[in-house]
């Protein structure tokens, strides 16, 4: 099938979302709560696009690109006035919530002038409640963190706000967080995240940290990986592989 994004005719497949087609064609649509590896939820609303169709009699609609499934002949605008207004409002609201977040400010500036200032809800947090961390943790199979409460007071935290039993210190939540809200303190031998402390497994070659002990135990139990995966750091693994190729080459 064919769809039109910003006037460009593009081929698309049944079942794809607007965002997937746009990404494949290097058309930029901003996102905050989207990640290739995870199911989309449509929470952040910044990937809003305006759609219409020649059969819709001039009717248009604003939809989230990450969730809307394409259909033949769909006409999409990624930056119409309505899109910019909607996206601008969303970002203005997020700026009021997380005034210290650079990512949000950059995105807002890119969208256009910052027109409305709202009352700041500055609790020093950069969390925009996109839930990427929760979904990543679920995907890992750990289920260590989740949403707490609802509405404006909703938070993301481990159960009972206690140091989470199931956390293996893999760091996926911190890595995926779009605003850098989740704090992870690493030293050469330890990691601290969600107020839980972990010891690193030291690389048997160079002594650099490989992964947390809990992560190792979890991976051994749940994943089928070569033994040196748990004992050697990635840099040393690469070196080892390179020297192996060297030998093969010579």
């Amino acid at each position: 099938m064919y769809i039109y994004i910003d006037g460009k005719k593009i081929s698309a497949n049944d079942g794809e979302t607007i965002l997937a087609v746009a990404n494949r064609n290097n058309i930029y649509i901003p996102t905050l709560c989207h990640h290739e590896a995870l199911d989309d939820v449509g929470a952040c609303r910044v990937c809003m696009v305006e759609i219409t169709h020649k059969d819709w009699g001039g009717w248009t609609n604003l939809v989230t690109a990450c969730l809307y499934p394409v259909e033949e002949g769909l006409v999409i605008s990624t930056s119409s006035d309505a899109v910019r207004r909607s996206r601008g409002t969303t970002l203005d609201l997020l700026m009021a919530r997380c005034p210290t977040s650079d990512v949000i400010r950059w995105m807002a500036e890119e969208n256009g002038e910052i027109s409305v200032r709202y009352e700041q809800v500055d609790d020093g947090s950069k969390c925009i409640m996109c839930s990427l961390c929760v979904r990543a943790c679920e995907k890992m199979g750990c289920n260590a963190i989740g949403t707490v409460g609802r509405g404006h007071d909703k938070k993301i935290a481990p159960p009972f706000f206690e140091n989470p039993e199931n956390c293996i210190g893999c760091g996926a939540c911190a890595a995926i967080c779009p605003t850098g809200h989740i704090e992870m303190k690493d030293t050469r031998t330890t990691r601290e995240i969600w107020e839980k402390k972990f010891d690193f497994v030291a690389c048997e070659v160079c002594g650099e940290p490989v992964m947390t002990e809990e992560y190792r135990d979890y991976a051994i139990a749940n994943r089928d990986l070569p033994a040196d995966y748990y004992t050697t750091c990635s840099a040393c693994k690469k070196k080892k592989l390179a020297s192996h190729f060297d030998k093969v080459g010579s």
């Binding site: 939820v41 449509g42 929470a43 952040c44 609303r45 910044v46 809003m48 604003l62 939809v63 989230t64 969730l67 809307y68 499934p69 309505a82 207004r85 909607s86 409002t89 969303t90 609201l93 997020l94 009021a96 919530r97 409305v116 709202y118 009352e119 809800v121 925009i128 409640m129 839930s131 949403t147 409460g149 609802r150 509405g151 404006h152 007071d153 909703k154």
Partner: protein, 627 residues
Amino acid sequence: MGIANLKKLEARRSALHKAHENVKTQVRVCSGTGCAALGAFEVYDALVEESKKAGLPVQVELAPCGKDKDPIFVSLTGCQGFCQIGPLVHILPEDILYTGVKVSSVKDIVGKTLADGQVIDKLLYKNPEDKKRLKGRADIPFYKGQELVALEGCGSVAADSLDSYIASGGFSSLAKALKMDPDQVIAEVEKSGLRGRGGGGFPTGRKWRSCVNATGDERFVICNGDEGDPGAFMDCCIMEGDPYRVIEGMIICAHAVGSSTGFIYVRHEYPRAVERLSLAVKTCEENGLLGTKILGSDLNFDISVARGGGAFVCGESTALMRSIEGSVGEPRAKYVRSVQRGFRDKPTVLNNVETFACVPSIINEGSDWFASRGTEKSSGTKAFCLVGKVVNTGLIEVPMGTKLRDVVFGIGGGIIDGRPFKAVQTGGPSGGCLGENYLDLPVDFDALAEAGSMMGSGGMIVMDDRTCMVDVAKYFLNFLMEESCGKCVPCREGVYQLHALLDKLSRGEGEPQDLEKIQRLGKEIQVSSLCGLGKSAPNPVLSTLKNFREEYEAHVNDKRCPAGVCRDITTFTIDPDKCTGCLVCKKACPPDAISGEKKQVHVIDQDKCTQCGACRLVCKFDAVVTS
């Protein structure tokens, strides 16, 4: 004793009919939430007890083979509507409606009315206009102009009795539907023009048909009883008062769309509805009206009653389904509709209680009968909860297209204490406030939407000049802020900011540009939010801003609340010319800010006063003034 097939159902009905014909007097005690709160259950117990003591042939169940001659059938019914003056006791066939019945009045009712046929004047409704006592429902203005369809059995059948429902014609509609092709059933519902009574007004027949056309190996029928709109309790009354009708409507739907599993989702604030529905489901199972081979047909259908956990957002269909699945009630985007992919990702029909309650009548009386009521695009009747500052409050049902004026001033009897009418709020937190210029608006789905409000589930809250529109808008935003699931940004952050702006106004700190800001943010929240809750959240603000702009401007420009509600900019004083020194306000004042002796003018100590307005509420002489 099961009702294995149609023949047995008819046999049972005719036996019950006979029993009914034998009944000489019916005494219906209303046990709706309102009457129950005022002591209806105690009245019922006393009535039965006292009648027995008096040697009257009293029956509490319809006994097909009763031996009594001229029995008196005493039953607990669902809401009879006129909650304001409960507990109600309705005596038939004489049509005597006793109001405000207390246990202490029971002896008289038994001795005089039941034993002797006398009417007790002082228990009759007193018409506030001419102070005349009116005997029955046929005479009382509140009941005139009403037409009961969804509420037909509510207030007449014994709420927890399958027999009573069958005697009143119950399950004859199902019997008829089972003889029809599923497609014919859907066509009837389509032709009737029935639109979803839960708020959106989506055509019910079309919904059922889309469900049938969707691909899936299993289909679900869900009844939405999560009536969360504050100020609305129609569905509560139907579930409590006529639970079998809801079940019958659902079974007909199951037959039409080919489903074998159903759920009724009831909010936890309605414990009696949960209890009565659960009992009704169990009774239906025991009698072969739910389960396998219903009434001897090939239809298998089960219903489970699911209790909500107290979240307004669970009235949204996708959130409701998540909640039944045992999860947090967060809605999902509906780009794929739930009739195609709903509960457990299977095609699902979700209708609200009142919608299902209309179905038996449509099948029984025919689609033309239903379509002949109401307006062209909103057929049938609609139940409303008429509440707020109106003289007659309660549960009503009127044909679609009835004018607001006829509801508020006809059925409702006008405004309390003869104060000026200001607005009527419809549609709950998703609706809006309509002022005096809308009084001649015919109430239907489209007219309300055009006027900037919406039908919603049917709450109708009447407001007088002492209601502040900024305060009302702020109230709804506060409600929505607490009830937002918090998933998407525009609703979670936007409603919070809207509330902050209104709060600023109510504190007298509003700036001229704030009104523009409110308008703009409201519009963006409408188009950007994920679910219906967020999309409609700004409606109460936007509609009041449109219809009562001067009042907003008074808050911003003059730092004044004309209705005398917003505490920070209101001062309460006592007008010495009007004060009679009755001590009532002094007693009512929570912070003890009022001083004064009996028969002497009272004075409010401004340092102690918290501007709560209690004194003005209780003053009978209009002596408390605000500025």
